[in-house]
Every structure is written in C-alpha cells, then in structure tokens.
Amino acid sequence: MSQRAIDWWVGIFVLLGIAALAVLALRVGNLSGFAYGNGYVLHADFNNVGSLKDRSPVKLGGVTIGEVTHIGMNPQTFRAEVTMRIEPSIKLPIDTGASIYTQGLLGEQYVAIQPGGMPQNLKPGATITLTQGAVNIDQLIGQMVFDKASGSSSGTSTH
C-alpha cells in the first residue's frame, strides 16, 4: 500500500469522524436549535413551571408551533417567567391562554396554548397573562389524603 493511498484513507477516516460528530451534535444532541430562529418572542408568567426546560415544545392543538427559549424568575412577583419563540405565521389573539401539561405518563412537559377570540393579536414581546402552571402530583395526592382524613374525622365526630 503506497503512502499516498494511506494518506487518503486516513484523511477520509478523520473526515468521517468529524462528520459523525457533527451529525450527532446536531441531530441527536440539542445543539441544533434554530428551528424557530426567525420566530417572534412571547412571555408568560406561571406560578409553577414544573419540570419545563429550555427547548420544551410550545403546542397549539397538539401541533408544535414553537419552543421555550428561557425560564427565569421575576423577583418582584415571585413568578416563573417563561420566554418562548413562536412560528411567525401563527398570530395569537390577545386573550390567549397558556398552560403547562405533561405528555403522557412519563413524557416531557410542554406549554399548551389556548387561542382566544379577540380581534387584536399579541405583539412580539408581549406577555400572556391567562396562565395555568404545572400540576404538582405530590400536592394533589397530599390534598386528597388530607380531604379523606378530615372527611372521615368529621364523620366520626358527628357520630
């Protein structure tokens, strides 16, 4: 095998490695993230974002129309501030609501948009005020147990 052929093969080998790393980073890892790069920004304040994270999907009627770009805390109101990028062709009315739901039993959390009916649309950078945060299952179970306990104790006291 001549030195020139070896040079070629090693070159191809290295290029294959670099290409594979690029494909892994872009297609498998979450480095690709400019899908909604030309979208407009909306904010929404939630009392609880649960396990929502950057790049979680934003859905309207089950269809992904954008993604979460940032989650922060508003120090004045103590509410979580979620920043989203929405596809430019989707214009949402100003009375649009946003909720955080979970996809399936073990699935990831996403922002679900409920469009309103007002004729005016939300401007880029506007804040959605009608929001419902993530449901905390621990809290729900605690509430249920507490209700059961207080219900049965009140039952015995009247007896």
Binding site: M1, I6, D7, V10, F13, L24, G29, N30, L105
Partner: protein, 258 residues
Amino acid sequence: MNEFFIPRLGHTVWESVPRLGAATRLLLGGLGAVGNRHFSFRQWLREVYGLGVLSLALMIVAAFFTGMVLGFQGYYALVRFGATSALGTLIALSLLRELGPVLTALLFAGRAGSALTAEIGSMKATEQLAAMEMMAVNPLAWVVAPRLWGGIFAVPILCVIFDLVGIFGGYLVSVPVLGVDGGTFWGQMQSNVTLSGDILNGLLKALCFGLIVTWIAVWQGFSAKPTAEGVGAATTRSVVMASLAVLGLDFILTALLF
C-alpha cells in the same frame, strides 16, 4: 502445592510492581517521544490506517447490530409502561454513554491490540528491536510512539462512528419495523441528549480506552518472551488484560463522570 501457593503469590505481587513501573516508563517515554528525531509522522499515519481505518468495517457492522438489538429490547421493556416514546432517548443514551465507547474498545482490543502485540513481539523475537538500538534508532520513538498516538487518535473516531451507526440501526428497528413515531423518536432524543454531558462524556471515555488498550498491547509485545510460544501467550494476555482493563476503567470513569 499448598505450601508453594503463598510464596508464589507473594513472588507474583512482588514481581508485578517493577513490571508496572517499566510499563509506565514505556508509556511516558512513548508518549513523550513525539519530539524525537526518529519519530516519523508517516509512520503515525500508517498506524492510524492499520489500527483505525482497517477496523472501520468491523465497527460499522457491530454498531449496526447493537443498535438494532437495543431497539428491540428497549421496545420490549418500554411497551409495558406505554413509554415507547422514550425509545429514542434510551437507544441514544445507552450508545453514547456506555455501549459505544466500551464495545469500540473491546473490539479494538481484539482486532488491533492483538495485532500490535504480535507485531512488536515478533520484532523482539527476530531481534529487530535490538538491531534498532545497535543503529542508535530509539525504538520508543520509532516503534512505540506512532502506535500509542495512533491508538489514542483512532479509538475516539471509531467510537463516534459506532455511536452514529448504532443510533441509525436503532432507528431502523424502532420506526419502520416497530412503528414508533419518527418525530417522537428524534424529538425525545434531542430534548434529552446533551452535547457536553453525553456525547463528549462518551468520547472522553473512548480516549481513555484507546490509551489503555494500546498501552497494554504495546507493553505486552515488548515484554513477550522472544519465542513463538512467548509471542502467542503475550497476544492472548494482551486481549484479556485490555478487555478487563477497559471494563474496570469504565466503572471508575462512569462513577467519576456520572
């Protein structure tokens, strides 16, 4: 027999300490011999070709089947919880974090490490190494350095290719055969796999495995008895030791990088 066991054990342990020292000297001397005038870049390219390019076909076939099996087995486990949407994440994380680096290193030890040991062992048996020293050619620079650096360079590249082909194999089983939704497969994978935490973590492991497998292979070749049986025994020892070292080191690295 029994009365000889304890002294023999002690002797083995006692002898293994200077051997480890000599092996470390070989490793550091080999790695540091890059600046030596007898180190040849051409020779290094030749080793990358022999160790890396020629192992590529084996890696691709192995990765493809590993990915496909992961697809089937993962589906079998996840379908009970109705969580087949997590199949993409399962396949990608298993391959990137664990199976890619470890299987690449084990196959590399069998395919390339054994050849390295046999090659250096026969150089020693035919007194080529002694001849080099007679000609004032530093065998660390001429023989060891290109092989060590070639292995360290080739294994991470093989590992990336293994990961990618494995994920593609998993995709082929999951989406067209088992009917998992393609968008969910990639989407869940993308939202749960990170570049620094998972992909680079796996590559760091591959780098360490490349170093240790090549090191053991070269050392076994150097310390082989200069006979036909000696070289054969050294080749066997090289593969066994390298495989065990990869698995042990994998545990330590996983615990550290977890």
